[in-house]
């Protein structure tokens, strides 16, 4: 749930929720108000449901800060550590080895502790905390120094090296190779894992920090219900219970604390209403096909007899297919035999055989054109979204100049920002509706979907047009822009709700080709 929804947790009954919280949410009550009145008694515990019933296209998720992730891990280390009676840093190695499957770890540890320890690279253990020491007559096998005052270190495996080499080795692993959870003893063939206490004893604080970051990263990477926010430099992760197998009928779009929205299933940006598998298919198709298809469509025709694709790169209209030797006219596609003496210039009007040949051509081109139809619209919205993004940067300026020109306050010009955000969200959705539509089977539900799509598209274009008006006109258009923004958001919600519901049912308009 978005954080703004928490404002709505106050009202004691569902009846009061129709008030406008902001343009973005203003239609919630009317959309599904009937539905949530039934939940009145659940106040407190179900306050989220009460205040803002989940829309069909939303999923439950939780945002985790780096601190949360850290404490999550700590909690599990301590829990496991107290059950199997090992120090927490060793419990940590075991947990990472078992990919955080606590139950499995405890079970197999209880069955055969030695085997588990050995496999996880812990070997026989003693509980003492690690120390460095000097050893008489010692030569470090890495640097061959034999200074008797030299500090040395070895883990429980007994492979002893001087502190300088050990530290250099660990630093290299952490800093250059980005390893953390699976750094092994420097001895060739020893698989003992370097635990966090040993590491912290030996390396600089900056490397320790890096080590922690890397460990946290593996924690999120290892767990299926956690994902990093894919935005650059964003340090939040999201927890979501949607399983991989559900991705065909749910599009789990989530939002991190910095408001970066992405799909939990595939980490791409919000691609509702199209499910992940379809998005993958579509992107691949576009990568392979779109330019080629465009070229084929513009520059070639097919032999009316054998359907070979032919590019006419010169010469007259009398074509002879290389493959099937069929002779036809490039202009009308009819058989050449009927052309009589009107060579090199087809001026015959619609003879039946020519028309038939063109029909056949059209049918075979249909699939290509169908793809291009959807692709062009998809690409158009992608392009427009980019332009809208530029516009958004200009919006800031517009907002400032509007303040000076019309004595409006900062709060009063916020409507431009809201409108710009709505435009981008709607374009994003529209873009994917075209990819989605390409894979839809045609039936009654398709029409509803296409109507929804059309309504949203019209609303978006209207708003977009208004948005581009010069600054001095914007002030007077405020009410209209606000209305249009609300309308756009509402059309988007309707479209998303409708498709999400059908996806969940696995019926109707979403029976995929």
């Amino acid at each position: 749930m978005d954080s703004e929804d928490e404002f709505m947790s106050e009202p004691p009954s569902g009846d009061e929720i129709d008030f406008d919280e902001g343009t973005q949410d203003s239609d919630i009550g009317s959309l599904s108000g009937d539905f949530d009145h039934d939940h009145d008694n659940g106040f407190g515990y179900e306050k989220d449901i009460l205040a803002n019933p989940q829309k069909p296209y939303e999923v439950d998720y939780r945002i985790l800060s780096p601190k949360d992730i850290h404490s999550h891990q700590e909690r599990q280390f301590n829990e496991v550590s107290s059950i199997i009676e090992l120090p927490p840093e060793q419990a940590a190695i075991l947990l990472r080895y078992m990919r955080w499957n606590k139950e499995k770890l405890i079970e197999s540890y209880m069955d055969n502790p030695e085997q588990v320890l050995e496999a996880a690279g812990l070997g026989p253990t003693l509980a003492a905390s690690p120390k460095t020491k000097t050893v008489k007559g010692f030569t470090c096998e890495i640097c061959y120094e034999d200074d008797p005052t030299m500090q040395t270190y070895a883990m429980k495996c007994g492979h002893r090296y001087c502190v300088g080499c050990y530290s250099h080795y660990l630093t290299q692993k952490v800093k250059e190779e980005g390893e953390a959870a699976r750094i092994e003893c420097p001895f060739d063939g020893c698989h003992r894992i370097v635990d966090s206490k040993s590491l912290k004893l030996l390396v600089d604080p900056s490397i320790q920090d890096r080590y922690e970051v890397l460990l946290t990263r593996t924690y999120v990477d290892d767990k299926d219900n956690l994902k990093w926010c894919p935005a650059p430099e964003c340090e939040y992760a999201v927890e979501c219970a949607v399983k991989k197998r559900d991705l065909n009928h749910i599009v789990p779009t989530v939002r991190c604390a910095y408001d970066h929205s992405f799909c939990f299933g595939c980490s791409l940006s919000d691609h509702r209403p199209a499910p992940c598998s379809l998005v993958k298919q579509w992107l691949k198709k576009c990568e392979d096909d779109s330019e080629t298809s465009n070229w084929i469509s513009a520059n070639t025709k097919e032999c009316p007899k054998c359907r070979s694709t032919i590019e006419k790169n010169g010469g007259c209209n009398h074509m002879t297919c290389r493959k099937c030797k069929h002779e036809f006219c490039w202009m009308c596609m009819g058989p050449w035999s009927e052309h009589g003496t009107s060579w090199y210039n087809c001026n015959r009007f619609e003879e039946k055989s020519g028309a038939d040949a063109r029909d056949a051509q059209a049918r075979s081109r249909h699939s290509l054109e169908r793809y291009l139809h959807y692709y062009n619209r998809y690409a158009n919205h992608e392009q427009s979204a980019k332009l809208d993004k530029d516009l958004w940067i200009k919006t800031e300026k517009k907002m400032t100049s509007l303040q000076t020109q019309s004595n409006m306050s900062w709060i009063e010009v916020q409507f431009l920002d809201t409108a710009s955000k709505a435009l981008q969200a709607c374009r994003q959705t529209l873009k994917w509706t075209y990819a989605f539509a390409f894979y839809l089977q045609r039936n009654n539900m398709t029409e509803i979907f296409e109507d929804n799509q059309k309504d949203l598209e019209m609303a978006v274009e209207n708003l977009s047009q208004m948005f581009e008006k010069p600054v001095n006109e914007l002030g007077s258009l405020k009410v209209e822009i606000l209305d249009k923004t609300t309308y756009c958001n509402r059309r988007r919600e309707i479209l998303l709700s409708d498709t999400a519901e059908n996806l969940k049912k696995g019926t109707g308009c979403t029976s995929l080709v």
Binding site: E141, I142, C143, Y144, E145, H159, Y161, C165, H168, Y169, Q172, P186, F187, D188, G189
Partner: protein, 149 residues
């Protein structure tokens, strides 16, 4: 820059107790650069050949592995046209406790036991899998032409 003690000791030992069938001599002007020659192991298609390699100890050695390349042309699924070698201990399985000596021994062992399932030279590996006898014959011929002069 002064040469680390590790490299001096290793070099001394390589000179004092050389490994049979392997020699590694540092350049006088660059003690991190070695001329290496390895005798093809007996019972292998490389038997009788002497293969020249170059070996360089990078700045970070022994934290990073030495860089090694065949100079003599060789027909082997794990060695490519440029003489680069696909061997785990030269990459992910490198340990600072390994030495020039141990690495060269591993390379000699690789000549005795090619591994076409983890190839570097795809064409060679393919042939090795499809018609091992013919591949071995080619390896023998290459050894004769390039490694026996």
């Amino acid at each position: 820059m002064a040469l680390p003690k590790r490299i001096i000791k290793e070099t001394e030992r390589l000179m004092a107790e050389p490994v049979p069938g392997i020699s590694a001599v540092p350049h006088e002007d660059n003690l991190r650069y070695f001329d290496v020659s390895i005798h093809g192991p007996s019972q292998s298609p490389y038997e009788g050949g002497i293969f020249k390699l170059e070996l360089f100890l990078p700045e970070d050695y022994p934290m990073t592995p030495p860089k090694i390349r065949f100079l003599t042309k060789i027909y082997h699924p794990n060695i490519d046209k440029l003489g680069r070698i696909c061997l785990d201990v030269l990459k992910s399985n490198w340990s600072p406790a390994l030495q020039i000596r141990t690495i060269l021994l591993s390379i000699q062992a690789l000549l005795g036991a090619p591994n076409p399932d983890d190839p570097l030279a795809n064409d060679v590996a393919q042939r090795w899998k499809e018609d091992q006898e013919a591949a071995i014959q080619t390896a023998r011929e290459w050894t004769k032409t390039h490694a026996m002069t």
